[in-house]
Subunit: 151 residues, 2 copies
Amino acid sequence: MNNKKAYDLRRSAGFMLGTSYRKVSALFQIRLKPFEITPEQWSVLYQIHLEDGLIQKEIAERAGKDRPTTTRILDHLEQKGLADRRTSDRDRRSFQVGITDKGRELILKTLPLEMAANEDVRGCMSEEEYDTLIRLLIRIDHHMKDILERE
Amino acid sequence: MNNKKAYDLRRSAGFMLGTSYRKVSALFQIRLKPFEITPEQWSVLYQIHLEDGLIQKEIAERAGKDRPTTTRILDHLEQKGLADRRTSDRDRRSFQVGITDKGRELILKTLPLEMAANEDVRGCMSEEEYDTLIRLLIRIDHHMKDILERE
DNA sequence: GAAATATAATTGTCTTAGCAACTATTTGGG
DNA sequence: CCCAAATAGTTGCTAAGACAATTATATTTC
């Protein structure tokens, strides 16, 4: 006889964020395959595309990654000739990162794929629900950032 | 002059699922540290706790992981004496996985931590918003599963 | 202005994840 | 019944992520 209180992990935000994230990311990854770039590399490159000359710390913050991860993703982007680092005169500890022509071209060709993957997500809900989802995810992001700083 | 159409990745479900997932997971991980188990190991162990004798394929499905990842997480759980594999007579290709007393004890002690992390998430929204969030995440999970099968 | 402290980036180690290739079984069609 | 195809699991490779320790440079403070 099973009289456990069945707490279902599908009611857990942390768990469901993970499972749904992995599936959305997997879809984007499949479609990015011809361009030989991963979703995470793409998101970092896109931040560089949005603003030139950011230092790695700022890129890490905007891409939601820690600094070691950002370092290594930038290594990959640089090896592929999509981004470049130049030493900053202002502060010789840091690098200013820029996108190359090849990087810019890749972003132009693949931005529609990123948008299409999100359209696929949107395909199972109303516009209003999608807006609510995004709003809640942004709120979680900020709230968790606060909690993590205090933990 | 900057006249790019600035498509903000913070409007992208895929991107925001990733950044918020990593933060929630990081919080749970910090709190699990005394128990020497990771959030991903925890979620697999919890599925085993919920139902004894599942085969790895079923655990993978329920935990939202692929089979190689499940294999390796089970390796860790077995090494720590939290789970065990026994060969199934029905089908000699597969193992039936069970939780040990030590594993059960760990789940009992740490389930409150999992719930607390979700309470922290819930802390930045109303009950109704949390319900909506979970409902949407479950829907995304199913919808993406369908799309991935057809891709 | 020198010493202590803080900050930017990197490196090493381990876990998780995706993908492809492989082994050992089981199932199904001829 | 037997061979082809499907299935369960594992292994190897690479990327991403968490964390701690290290290096180089800046900033603060005394």
